[in-house]
Each structure stands twice: as C-alpha cells, then as structure tokens.
Symmetry: C2
Subunit: 154 residues, 2 copies
Amino acid sequence: MARNYELDDTDRKILALLIEDAKIPYTEIARKVHVSGGTVHVRMARLEELGIVKGATLKLDYQKLGYGVSAFLGIYLLKSSVYASVVEQLREIPEVVSIHFTTGAYGVFARLVCRDTQHLRDVLHDKVQLIEGIERTETLISLEEAMNRAIQLQ
Amino acid sequence: MARNYELDDTDRKILALLIEDAKIPYTEIARKVHVSGGTVHVRMARLEELGIVKGATLKLDYQKLGYGVSAFLGIYLLKSSVYASVVEQLREIPEVVSIHFTTGAYGVFARLVCRDTQHLRDVLHDKVQLIEGIERTETLISLEEAMNRAIQLQ
DNA sequence: GTTGAAAAATTCCGCCG
DNA sequence: CGGCGGAATTTTTCAAC
C-alpha cells in the first residue's frame, strides 16, 4: 500500500516543476529537463497510471473568496470502533476539508474552512455536534495562515 | 485585505470545474458553462489579476512518493512577540508545509510531512527544537489521512 | 461576450540508438 | 525498450466586432 516507486531524476524534476505550476506546457518542461516533449508526456502518463499523480487543482486565495476562517478540530470519540462511521459523517459536511486519524488524545483530527466565525459556529453546532459517536471536540481557530505549500521533493 | 470580490455564477462554475481538474481545456469548460472559450479565458485572466487564482498544482499521493508520515505541531511560544521570527525559522524547514497562527493554548500550529517516523523525529529534534523563541511543542502524528479535498464553492 | 484565425501545445506513432 | 522527432489534432490566445 505504502510502496515506494522507482522514480528517476527526470520524473522528480518534472514533478517539481509541475508542483510549482501545473499549467506550464510539457514542451517547456522538456526544454528545462533536457528531454523531448514526448518523453514528458510518457512519464506523466506513467505517474498517473501508478496513482502518484492524482490530478491537478487550482491554488486559490480563500480569504479573497470569502472563506477567511479556518479551524482545526480535535475530536474525542466515545469509543474507537466508531471511527469509520464518524469519518463518513464528517465527509458529508462540505466545510470539512481534511480528516486525519491521529495519535494522542484525539481520535480524529479535522480541518474546516468557513466564511466567518458565525458560519464556523453554525457548522460546529448544527452539524458536527450532531454526529453519533463523538464525545466532545476542541476547536483551534486559525487567525492567519502564515504559509501553505506543497512538499519539496528531495 | 479580506475583501469579498464580486463573482458571478459563471466565475463560480468555472472555478468549481477547475478545482476538480485544473487541466481540463477552457474550450470544454466553455461548453459546460454555456459561454465561449474567449469568455472563460477573460474570466480566468481577471481572477488571476485579482489574486483569487494564484496558480495550479498537482494532486499527489504522498504515501506513494515515500512521504507517508504527516504530523501536526502545537507550538508554545516563550512570548508572543517572537511569533514573526518563529514563523520565519519554520519556513526554512522544508518538511514544514503549513503554518497557522491560532487561538487557544498554542501560539503557532504547523503541519509537517516526513518520509517516516524516524525522519519526523530527526526534524523535530535537529530543526524544530533549535528554533529560538519556542518554549515547547506537542506533536500529533497522523496515522492516516482519511480525506483531503478543496473547499466546495457554494 | 462572441467570433474567428494565427500561434502554440498536445498527442500519437513510426523510427532509431 | 525507452527516448526522439515530426505531423495531425486540439487548445490557447488575442484582436475586431
């Protein structure tokens, strides 16, 4: 499941460039990596085939889109067997953007993105608190996202 | 700073499609949104001009890339005035992918992505613990990322 | 906001080292 | 076999309306 695939230097260089900007043309990547455009195409097709590349998405300024409040939620479960069910129910909430199963006090750790603190309050009260299997939650409101980037390969 | 820009339904539909897959051609978006290709182009140019769209990036399976361990770090600061300096120093650590200024006990909350628990241990001990201004940290290791998605517009 | 046409990129395939 | 190069198709890009 967590296998490590054989990636060569060309693969990593291609990925590093596309992580920075997924819209740069393959022909330009080809020039920078010193291979042909066809090769970039073949390498990307293989990386997608392997499931390493799952697609591309936009980098957005959520603040400017009106989603200025983000929060982390530490969730205490009534018993650990409800994990899968709680995840399913969290997934149904559009404001939940990521869910982690973590070590430590919390069983589940989630991140929410909301328009404002009122919206966050509503989501917590009307959606999260109603989920079966949750004992209680601790909320950490992010007042400012000082940084957010993709991992650097190598 | 946190202004709300006027986006119409067309803008939102275009963004929603590109969030799903930033590589679909503007011509295809045009068909789905019932406008011309030129209009999609103009709308995206404006959204980039406004800074709402900051670019595009790849969606990757970090597990398969050999980065299977992710952790959240609650950081207690010696005094709140060191915030900016601590953020600067965290930014220098390649394994740190996001930094938040939060309410609650921690002054700073960060996320790290590492190859394995040994790598995480090394980063915490050799890099994070050396930062001036940090009193102590609490680590939450994510054993599994059950979900990770972009926010849904509307 | 649309159209249409030039420029560029993608994509595929036969060939070669 | 993996990489290269060229050609057909599609997309991007932009000016005129």
